[in-house]
Symmetry: C2
């Protein structure tokens, strides 16, 4: 029997610009079947929490423009389970709204917050970890974040330094949150055994996060305090339309986690990647004999290794003499770029849209 | 006043496999606006002969499957000017049929035969050269081929070695035809001044080529001899349908030019390329600042030089770190291949169609 006071908030508002042009603002990363499993990353995120929280307690927070995609991909959700943001305002306002909304429905609620576009390969370990996390935040007045044991000195992630353990189950006080480190520092982090990747997966009781928002992010909490009495009622939609856009855009890490004193980390290992880069996608995808990765396309490769081919539709790619490239085709745009240069893609998107009037966003 | 006994036969049956997938069997090279001029190579071939022969004396010989494309691109032609081959049988049967057909209409005809998919940049020199050639074959019982003065030791062309000059106008006896040479030999050829590129452009009187076909290619001529009396009449179509496919597939060079004794070469220089390879197309196309060539597409290039981008439709290509490649996109197939490896494309087409059941021919 699943605890009926457990809730899940799936954050689904990202625009996936790092995977342009395969992921477009009209169909961002979380809506794509990136791993060729037949389920999009959002659908996989939803499937993954069903053993943990009641289906009707899963909320998806997304931008208004993605409502049709969410409805199409998750027909199991009622309209009331889709929270539509009228503007993009980073994670703190998203999380605050969801917390106020759920608290109005169930004052005893405990909530897991998770991104919609991450990969988790060991789902049963994930399930055990989340259940442990729920039990912890239900027993303590705590903000809990999941820290992933690092497997390499990754410079693309933030790290969490752990403090004293509070139990035998891998939960510790948080000592510090760190920015993305340079390689030398990341190597020291991994060596030390004290640093874990910041996964962006959180657990807390609704009342705890609301109180901490009021303490540390009063400008955000203040917007939603005005709506108390309206959450979970027909008045909520109009209230959000009028007030949500007035929130500052700020991350939950910066607004609350780095400031609050009751912040804990659960150290976990469940095959996690944020799939935040083409290289991460490449690393996490099955490879063929030539060490190429193909997404939704047939590839005939000659003297070509280490590439990732991502193409919408039934396209044949014939390639010779290409090593460690990204080849991404979205119908009206074709990108060919070395994996090592992928941090430049954002600039390329800007250049393309400056040159062609936002036609290729 | 244009001589009304002068005719032109444009050979337009090629399938353009070397430019796969940009050129497909459903829309081969000669039907594509390869140079971005607004006219296809076939249309340019037609335009080029209009100052030389009467419009109604231009015949296009093509495969039945390309009839709609020819009609669309050359609406100036009457149906009688389009000779539709029921099968692909190389150049000798094509040329033989056209000769018998034209001889039936005009026994005094002299004929220029030209491919439909070559580039000629200096059209007024071309015009003068062809007129000179017509005058020669009208005055002599000769088979005349045009030899292009080589500008580099090209290994992709056959060469013609010239013999004794027969006039002051650059016309010589042919000493030998050669196969495509290796580079060392090609260098010797160019150095010598005695070798010219074999252009595949021919001039002769109808009666001369018919007689030489009977002498040297009786198996080909024999097929058409049976039809004498039917050419230029309503019976021709049925005759060709029944008999043309029985011809052996053989080139006019091999069937006649290398065997006949009255073979001459006119040495010309009019900016010719057979555009037979991506590299030749690259060399003959206007380049942008980055030395890239783009066909029908917008390209944003970073650290990329010496490439040729050929894409059907309004597509944006964003490319980083690519040097001397062919990028050709035909909607259902994308080819990425170093220019230096383009001789392997034929094998790739075979591999693709073996793997996917002729879907990508």
């Amino acid at each position: 029997m699943i605890n009926p006071h457990r809730y899940c908030v799936i954050m689904c508002g990202g625009i996936g610009s790092r995977f342009w042009p395969y992921s477009r603002s009209s169909r961002p990363k979380q809506f794509i079947d990136f791993l060729g499993t037949g389920r999009s990353l959002l659908q996989m995120s939803f499937d993954r929490v069903l053993p943990i929280v009641p289906k009707e307690n899963v909320f998806v927070v997304t931008n208004e423009m993605y409502a049709p995609l969410v409805r199409e991909q998750l027909p199991e959700l009622s309209e009331a389970q889709i929270l539509l943001e009228p503007a993009r305002r980073n994670t703190a306002p998203c999380i605050a709204w969801a917390a106020y909304h759920i608290a109005a429905i169930d004052p005893e609620a405990s909530i897991m917050v998770a991104p919609s576009d991450h990969l988790i390969t060991r789902e049963s370990v994930f399930e055990q970890s989340i259940v442990k996390g729920f039990e912890f935040v239900e027993a303590h007045d705590a903000l809990l974040t999941l820290g992933i044991r690092p497997t390499r000195p990754e410079t693309g992630y933030g790290y969490i330094q752990i403090g004293a353990p509070v139990n035998d189950e891998g939960i510790c006080k948080v000592k510090t949150f760190t920015e993305k480190p340079k390689l030398e520092l990341a190597e020291v982090f991994v060596e030390s055994g004290e640093f874990f990747w910041n996964s962006g997966i959180f657990l807390w009781r609704a009342e705890t996060i609301i109180r901490e928002l009021k303490n540390h992010a009063p400008d955000v909490a203040g917007v939603f305090e005005k709506g108390v009495g309206m959450f979970g009622t027909p008045a909520e939609k109009e209230f959000i339309g009028a007030n949500f856009p007035a929130c500052v855009g700020i991350s939950i890490d910066f607004a609350v986690m780095e400031k609050a004193s009751n912040v804990y980390v659960e150290c976990v290992e469940f095959g996690w990647s944020d799939l935040g880069t083409w290289s991460a996608l490449y690393d996490n995808s099955p490879k063929n004999r030539d060490t190429n990765v193909t997404q939704n396309c047939n590839v005939l490769a000659y003297n070509s290794t280490g590439n990732i081919f991502a193409v919408n539709g039934e396209k044949l790619i014939v390639v010779d003499g290409l090593k460690d490239y990204i080849v991404a085709d979205a119908g009206d745009v074709l990108l060919i770029c070395p994996k090592a240069e992928e941090q430049r893609i954002k600039q390329m998107v800007n250049d393309a849209n400056l040159a062609f009037g936002d036609k290729y966003l």
